[in-house]
């Protein structure tokens, strides 16, 4: 007796979930664990129920399908379901099993499902890895300017709108995002944020800091030729000579 494939459906539209459910019901070896209508529920369900396969919509309220994947440590096999064709390249870069364009036929659905089974048979953990570093790097490059940052602690997701970020501090392999919503760790590089935060508002002032210029109260001379930025919150951040030059250009 073959083991069942455990499945979760994530879509914010009832009818879209209904359709996937109907198609799944025709498959003897699929077991539907649950349905989720948003990314928060989905994160919790994936962490707790450990599905093999997730049918994932991309456009959803609060956090989208890509953002959900970004905060998952162990990724199940993913089949994207969406009406947008422009995300296909990104989806495959994320090592998705398949990309179903709505509306899709039962045949196309089964084909994607079989592909997922094949993948699950060869690599026990579905996606197996989080993608090779080069692939992830390329993925970062294809993103435009960020409008929000998603962070996760345990199963708690925080969506930080970009303009709520006060400054970003490097912390080894992570960065610490200091925002109005608190401090959050994120596994990304300073370079990534330097490149993807809105450039008119965020400036790299130091090897260790990227600051929201609206948060700066004043610049103070620290030693003979180095400065500190005094933030509205009272925090002081070191400013390198290169950072000082960039700030000068702005004011």
């Amino acid at each position: 007796m073959q083991e069942k494939i455990k499945v979760i459906i994530v879509d914010d539209e009832d009818l879209a979930r209904e359709l996937v459910k109907k198609y799944l019901a025709g498959l003897a070896d699929a077991e539907l664990l649950c349905e989720c209508s948003n990314g928060f529920e989905a994160l919790k369900a994936i962490q707790e129920l450990r599905p093999d396969l997730v049918f994932l919509d991309i456009q959803m309220p609060k956090i989208d399908g890509f953002e959900l994947l970004e905060v998952l440590d162990e990724k199940p096999a993913i089949i994207f379901t969406t009406a947008f064709d422009q995300y296909a390249i990104r989806a495959f870069e994320l090592n998705a099993v398949d990309y179903l364009l709505k509306p899709f036929s039962r045949e196309r659905f089964v084909q994607a499902y079989e592909k997922a089974k094949l993948r699950l048979g060869t690599t026990p953990q579905g996606m197996a890895s989080q993608g090779t570093p080069s692939l992830l790097k390329h993925l970062d490059d294809t993103r435009q300017t960020l409008d929000r940052v998603i962070t996760r602690l345990g199963s708690k997701i925080t969506v930080i709108p970009v303009d709520k970020i006060r400054y970003i501090e490097s912390a080894d392999d992570y960065v610490m995002i200091h925002s109005e919503l608190g401090d959050h760790l994120k596994e990304k590089t300073m370079k990534y944020f330097e490149e993807h935060l809105p450039k008119e508002q965020y400036i790299r002032i130091h090897r260790k800091y990227i600051v929201n210029i609206n948060e700066i109260r004043s610049l103070e001379l620290y030693t003979k030729d180095s400065y500190v930025a005094l933030l509205k919150t009272g925090e002081k951040l070191n400013v390198s000579s290169e950072g000082y030059r960039r700030l000068r250009e702005r004011f």
Binding site: L15, P103, D163
Partner: protein, 351 residues
């Protein structure tokens, strides 16, 4: 005269010279007391010659206008031009009049004594003609420019039409078709209803009337079709309320003016929130304008992140094009409610 100048300008040019000729004659006859035959010949020869030389100046001006010259070059160009023109004019005039009246001492001495005055007059004529020609050329260029602009506006209008036609976002269509695909299995009756609504909506959006206007009632009908379709997709996440003054229904409005606004409300409200988004549509007549308000509730943070979309910018642009004022659209935004108000003046223009 030159090809480029239209016939009536040539006539004006000739009349100008005839007038100058008459003044010239009167001056010599009454002022200087010359014999009429001398005054007449003098006037005819000198003015006639400048008429011919003047038309030559037209080409000179046109040529100089085509070249980009510095001020110094231009000055040199016209000093040379004036010198040559006046020299030729004086020489030819004297030659002809000397030939006509070789023996007449009184006239001959008059001719000699007035050389300086004639050169002055020639300079004045030169300056006058050149100025007029420059003005004419500039005027012509201005006219061409405005014609070009008019053509461009026509093209823009065409582009606007195409834009409106393509405004139906493909993902809306495909998501709706996906809902229909699901409904065919769970609720075929509802699937059929949705196919019909979608078809009706698409038909209006793809072939709206050529005159680009319609009643508010028709626009509203289309917007409600759209909302009905989205309602099937989103269920209780979308609520619609409307408050329309009955007299407003027959008001003539630009076609597809409501659709982008309603679409925006759905996009920023319903797409971004799991809670119920209320979309409110109000229309009433205020003095001699129709006021339409479209608002939606929205969740924390969604508006700030998206900013004002191209949809709203397009509406503002269209209203500006149609009514010549940019103040017909206003945006009001609070913590959790976003509202666009547009005012449509009574329909006066016919396109």
């Amino acid at each position: 005269m030159a090809r480029g100048i239209k016939n009536h300008l040539e006539i004006v040019y000739l009349i100008m010279w005839v007038t100058l000729g008459v003044i010239h004659f009167s001056l010599l006859y009454f002022g200087y007391g010359l014999r009429s035959v001398h005054a007449f010949a003098d006037s005819l020869v000198f003015n006639g010659l400048f008429t011919v030389i003047g038309s030559g100046l037209w080409f000179m001006v046109r040529y100089s206008n085509l070249q980009t010259k510095t001020k110094a070059e231009l000055a040199l160009y016209h000093i040379t031009g004036a010198a040559v023109a006046i020299f030729v004019w004086m020489m030819a005039g004297h030659l002809i009049l000397n030939t006509l009246f070789p023996e007449d001492q009184a006239y001959q001495s008059f001719l000699k004594n007035t050389v300086f005055l004639r050169i002055l007059a020639g300079l004045m004529f030169y300056a006058l003609l050149v100025s007029i020609f420059y003005l004419l050329i500039n005027f012509r260029e201005l006219k061409e420019k405005s014609q070009r602009e008019a053509r461009l506006t026509g093209l823009l209008k065409e582009a606007e039409l195409n834009l409106l036609r393509s405004q139906i976002r493909p993902h809306f269509l495909f998501n709706s078709l996906n809902s229909i695909s699901a409904l065919t299995m769970t609720d075929p009756g509802k699937a059929q209803e949705m196919v019909i609504k979608l078809s009706e909506f698409m038909r209006y959006s793809l072939n709206f009337p050529d005159n680009m206007t319609g009643t508010l009632e028709r626009e509203l009908y289309n917007a409600e079709l759209y909302l009905d379709i989205e309602k099937v997709r989103f269920g209780s996440r979308l609520a619609f309320e409307k408050e329309i003054q009955p007299e407003a229904m027959s008001w003539i409005v630009p076609v597809m003016i409501l659709q982008p606004l309603v679409e925006n409300a759905v996009k920023y409200g319903v797409y971004e929130s799991e809670e119920t988004t209320v979309i409110r549509l109000g229309a009433r007549i205020l003095e001699s304008e129709l006021e339409i308000r479209i608002g939606n509730t929205y969740g924390f943070g969604t508006m700030a992140k998206k900013g004002t979309g191209t949809g709203l910018r397009n509406i503002r642009g269209r209203l500006l094009n149609l009514y010549g004022t940019g103040s017909l659209m206003k945006i009001n935004q609070t913590e959790n409610y976003f509202e666009v108000t547009i005012r449509i003046p009574e329909y006066a223009r016919k396109d």
